[in-house]
């Protein structure tokens, strides 16, 4: 492929806006593989297309992380993306076994880092093989539960976000990155420019700021999800009131899109079954199908979003290394690379 068409290709990818996610990934895959002819006809949706599957499968094998997403053509796949990692490993093990027993196919162990406290080091994520020699089997399916790693950063100051922008940091080792903004300005920054997969909504206190439509719409377009946890509501009745009222104010603005409901559980008794959580979503103002999606489809979208982000990074760095370009071209690519990080692919 010649210089001009490849640059045109770059511009097409880096432009924001709608379009099928698969289309974009397909084109990213072509550049990365350098062997497939770029077919215009893949834009049509007829019959799913032959080449999609190939490229999708190759792209899904992320080099750094081993998150292979295998969706079987069966019942809905439920996920709980917030199992808090405390100091008690035994409780975590019990929690994971309970989650598998309840029917969750995918869970994410959440490491919470609060920057307000003294200088915090971000630890390496837990490897599932440390916890279990053989992963517990999900009830109702014959596959073992999939355990991913997630990092949540509680940010109350703009300087805390720098760790996300640093190129070499432990953040990259996690499958999902979430941010918990404490002020309105940080919420705006998180929705519009930060490279995260989830924005957590406070459920234990009265909302410190009102939600506004513009940053939420931008976040929905970028594919960022909003997370509501329900385990505080289980423990205490005042928290229950805060959870429901905060959730309702979120739903009024975002209309139930891109919302995920997760447990935030630390102990085995704090997690509930997927259909129960979907019913709880009804109380939060979600419609029936949105509530079921909050535990299944939207979680899947978040996981893929997390994979996409790491793929994009690896693609961009590889491309810059592989082609011998002039300085001018390199600068242009660096510029478009940073733009790319702020416009994530929409699922």
């Amino acid at each position: 492929m010649n210089e001009k068409s490849s640059r045109a290709l770059n511009n097409k990818i880096f432009r924001g806006g709608g379009g099928m996610r698969n289309n974009r990934l397909a084109r990213v895959g072509i550049e990365a593989e350098k062997e497939l002819h770029f077919p215009e006809c893949t834009r049509s949706r007829r019959g799913g297309g032959m080449e999609y599957g190939e490229r999708l499968r190759r792209l899904r094998k992320c080099e750094k992380n081993e998150c292979h997403l295998s969706c079987d053509a069966g019942m809905a796949v439920f996920a709980d993306l917030n199992l808090k990692r405390g100091s008690d490993t035994k409780a975590l093990k019990g929690l994971l076994e309970n989650a598998a027993h309840l029917g969750f196919s995918t869970v994410a162990i959440n490491h919470v880092v609060d920057f307000k406290e003294k200088k915090q080091e971000i630890d390496k994520p837990i490897v599932p093989s440390e916890l279990f020699s053989s992963l517990p089997i999900v009830q109702g399916k014959s596959k073992p539960i999939k355990i991913l790693s997630r990092l949540t950063l509680i940010v109350s100051d703009p300087s805390h976000c720098n760790v996300l922008r640093a190129t070499s940091s432990r953040v990259k080792l996690y499958d999902i990155v979430a941010v918990f903004p404490k002020t309105e300005k940080l919420f705006h920054v998180a929705c519009t420019s930060l490279d995260v997969d989830l924005v957590c909504i406070s459920v234990t206190e009265k909302l410190p700021f009102y939600f506004r439509r513009p940053p939420i719409n931008v976040a929905i377009e970028r594919g960022i999800g909003f997370e509501i946890t329900y385990s505080p509501a289980i423990k205490d009745s005042t928290m229950r009131r805060y959870t429901i009222s905060n959730a309702l104010s979120l739903m009024q603005i975002c209309k139930g899109k891109n919302v995920i409901v997760s447990s935030g559980a630390e102990r085995p008794l704090e997690i509930r079954g997927p259909y129960d959580v979907a019913n709880l979503g009804l109380l939060f103002g979600l419609s029936e199908s949105d509530a079921k999606a909050a535990v299944s489809t939207n979680c899947r979208a978040t996981l893929l979003h997390g994979e996409d982000a790491s793929l994009c990074v690896s693609y961009c760095t590889r491309k810059i290394k592989s082609k011998g370009k002039t300085n001018h071209d390199k600068e242009k690519e660096n510029e478009t690379t940073s733009n790319k990080k702020s416009e994530n692919i929409m699922l």
Binding site: G47, G48, G49, G53, A73, M251, E288
Partner: protein, 340 residues
């Protein structure tokens, strides 16, 4: 606000009640039974009956076996050998999620209940189509898709209605895979002192003080099958359900449940035999026959799409009266097409 309004609504479900007579020419009871293919559980309830008649018992015992084949690759089901031996006419319907659909590369259409983001696709292959012979492009493409592109293997439950003249049986055909024969589970029970609602065959909606309506009967029948206490005692925490009035106390009732993969032809036989139950005069004015489908089947009646939102129910219930009148109630849940 809209949230409160939504909370008051029940999840979407449809119940279609119709009444007719078995002797009527245009009665479609046979079609309804025969086009509901994937039946999981059949139960019938006969009030005022202590023991089952010999004919009924024979039919119940002769509900044929069903087979479980593990790890059967999908391409075996479209091989012409299989079609000629076992499938006289039929279609292969696949309900796939988004990733599988895109990877498998066959033509299909999005499910009707998808909303904005389509997550489910339906692929239909007509096995009897003239363009589906072994040489055609369509067949080759489908075969390639199932065997090489995305080899899918599933555990299959098979039920086969045979006339007895076929050369090979299911067991011998699939002998290279692990095929196991299962007999359906049959449970008999006699219920004592049951409150039964009074029904009049001509009144589907029920007359106040004289008979109960069809939906009330439907709820009551569900309560009986779930062994719910119908007294509404003050200390009972679990249920406050009462038998709809007017009702009569029946000394004993016979309940039989068959669980497994049951072919619709056997259900037709059972239905006919239950009609003949009233050939001799009996104490009870009505009997019921209920059939439930598998919760995760892709179709309900004929090719109507069936989805699973929170509970994938699709079932029908016959209420057979002594004068050969019947009520037919068909129920489906959310994400389902309306029953025929």
């Amino acid at each position: 606000m809209s949230t409160l309004r939504r909370l008051r609504e029940a999840p979407r479900h449809l119940l279609v009640c119709e009444k007719s007579n078995f002797g009527h020419d245009k009665s479609r009871h046979r079609q309804h039974v025969q086009t509901h293919y994937l039946n999981y559980r059949v139960s019938f309830l006969i009030p005022e009956c202590g023991i089952l008649s010999k004919e009924l018992k024979n039919i119940v015992m002769e509900v044929g076996p069903y087979y479980l084949v593990k790890n059967l690759p999908l391409h075996e089901l479209i091989v012409h050998d299989f079609i000629n031996n076992f499938v006289k006419k039929g279609k292969l319907i696949l309900s796939l999620d988004k990733d599988t659909y895109e990877e498998i590369g066959l033509q299909g259409h999005p499910s009707r209940y998808s909303g904005r983001k389509v997550m489910r696709y339906i692929v239909t292959l007509d096995l009897m189509d003239s363009s589906f012979n072994p040489e055609s492009k369509k067949y080759k493409r489908a075969f390639w898709a199932f065997s090489e592109k995305k080899p899918l293997k599933f555990n299959f439950l098979l039920a086969w209605h045979h006339e007895g003249t076929e050369q090979s049986t299911v067991m011998s055909y699939f002998s290279k895979y692990q095929i196991q024969e299962h007999q359906p589970k049959i449970a008999f029970s006699t219920l004592r002192d049951l409150q039964c609602p009074l029904l009049q065959s001509g009144e589907l909606e029920g007359k106040p003080e004289e008979s109960c309506s069809a939906p009330e009967l439907f709820d009551w029948l569900g309560a009986v099958f779930s062994n719910v206490e119908l007294n509404n005692q003050s200390f009972s925490f679990v249920s406050t359900y009462c038998c709809p009035q007017p009702s009569v106390l029946v000394e004993k009732a016979y309940l039989c449940t068959i669980t497994g993969f049951i072919v619709s032809e056997k259900i037709s036989l059972l239905l006919e035999q239950l009609c003949h139950y009233f050939d001799d005069p009996k104490l009870t004015p009505w009997v019921t026959l209920s059939v439930q489908g598998f919760a995760d089947s892709p179709v309900s009646w004929r090719e109507n799409e069936h989805g699973f939102r929170k509970g994938g129910e699709h079932l029908y219930n016959f209420v057979i009266f002594s004068n050969q009148d019947y009520w037919l109630q068909m129920a489906v849940g959310a994400n389902d097409d309306c029953p025929p």
